[in-house]
Amino acid sequence: MRNIRNDGEHDDNQVVAWMRDADPVSDLAPLPSWQLERLKETAMTTPTTTPAPVKSRRRLITVAGISAAAAAAIIGGVLIAGPNTTPGGGAVTALSVPDAGGPAAMCAEVTPQALESSTLAFRGTVTSIRDGLVTFRVDEVFTGDLEQAVTVPQGDPDTQVDGAAPVFQDGTTYLVSTTDDVIRTCGQTGEETAALDTLYSQAF
């Protein structure tokens, strides 16, 4: 358990010893077994907190998807959900991007009310972009049930029209929202800026 470093730095060991002495719960009494049983029962009977999909929003995306189908076919931007693991092997939430965008799609203004209906919303930093798959480290979850890493297919930089999948940059922090497991575009997902951050804090 404690094979963290072996560089024999006296100072380092001293700091860890101080920390251990300062542990505020070294004497926590174990949970009585009946309480653990009750907790488990609660866990197994609690309904999922993830909100139901927003129907109207879903339809809108479908319509946009149809209207953009021709454009998507020409551009050849094939966007599918990524595999369910990270290169590091940890648990991952795999998201996809809408088949939307194109000349027929038009974006509305981003508002806190619009963001409120997100299935998932989080602040995440891009840790890698490989083979068209962007991996995020989740820094903060605003709503929904997420793993600590999230994958999203990378957008096509040549298709940056209204509603197109975002193009992410490595190392940059984004605010991301989804409907079900489909990334919301139209500015609802974007680089962390003061303006978008304000909208997110009003929504969540």
Partner: protein
């Protein structure tokens, strides 16, 4: 996995993780919040029981609890902002104020810890208190093992420096030249 298989695995997971989770939470928040987050964390673990890695139940559960805790604290802050608009509220309680230790060195270390950046303090807590390895911390924090090693090394230095600054060895305050009135 069958329902009974899920149930058996959940029993196993819960038995292994419940005490580490309770300590993790008690080190960070008040009892009522800790109870809530423990319950939420177990709910998530039940829903994902098929994904909990065998042999790595504790770091996985701590990773879940950490995100649940952040959600809860965020909601609490939002609630506090709302309440603050209507009435004057007392400042939020110190999260580990109820530690009950009168040991002055322990107090000093906890004070110093609270002065570090969140991420530095968290790496130190996960290492010294939760006793996670570097790779386990990397999993919990969503960082590379290399990044965690570097962060841990620096955090130890920062804590030692902060303690040294706060601690005047012979009881007198260290005064630098030019500080005198």
């Amino acid at each position: 996995m069958s329902v009974s298989g899920d149930r058996a695995r959940f029993d196993q997971v819960a038995a292994v993780v419940v005490e580490p989770l309770r300590r993790f939470l008690a080190r960070r928040v008040d009892q009522a919040t800790a109870d809530d987050v423990l319950s939420e964390t177990l709910t998530v673990l039940w829903r994902r029981v098929g994904h909990v890695p065998v042999g790595e139940e504790v770091p996985y559960a701590i990773g879940v609890a950490r995100l649940q805790l952040r959600n809860t604290l965020r909601a609490m802050r939002r609630q506090e902002r709302l309440v603050a608009k209507i009435i004057t509220v007392d400042p939020p309680p110190e999260t580990i104020a109820e530690a009950g230790s009168t040991d002055s060195r322990a107090e000093l270390v906890r004070d110093a810890l609270s002065q570090l950046r969140d991420v530095d303090a968290e790496v130190l807590r996960l290492h010294a208190w939760e006793e996670l390895t570097v790779s386990e911390m990397a999993e919990v924090l969503g960082m590379t093992t290399n990044a965690v090693s570097i962060r841990l090394h620096r955090a130890k230095k920062k804590l030692a420096d902060t303690i040294r600054k706060m601690h005047a060895p012979t009881g007198h305050v260290v005064v630098k030249e030019g500080d005198r009135p």
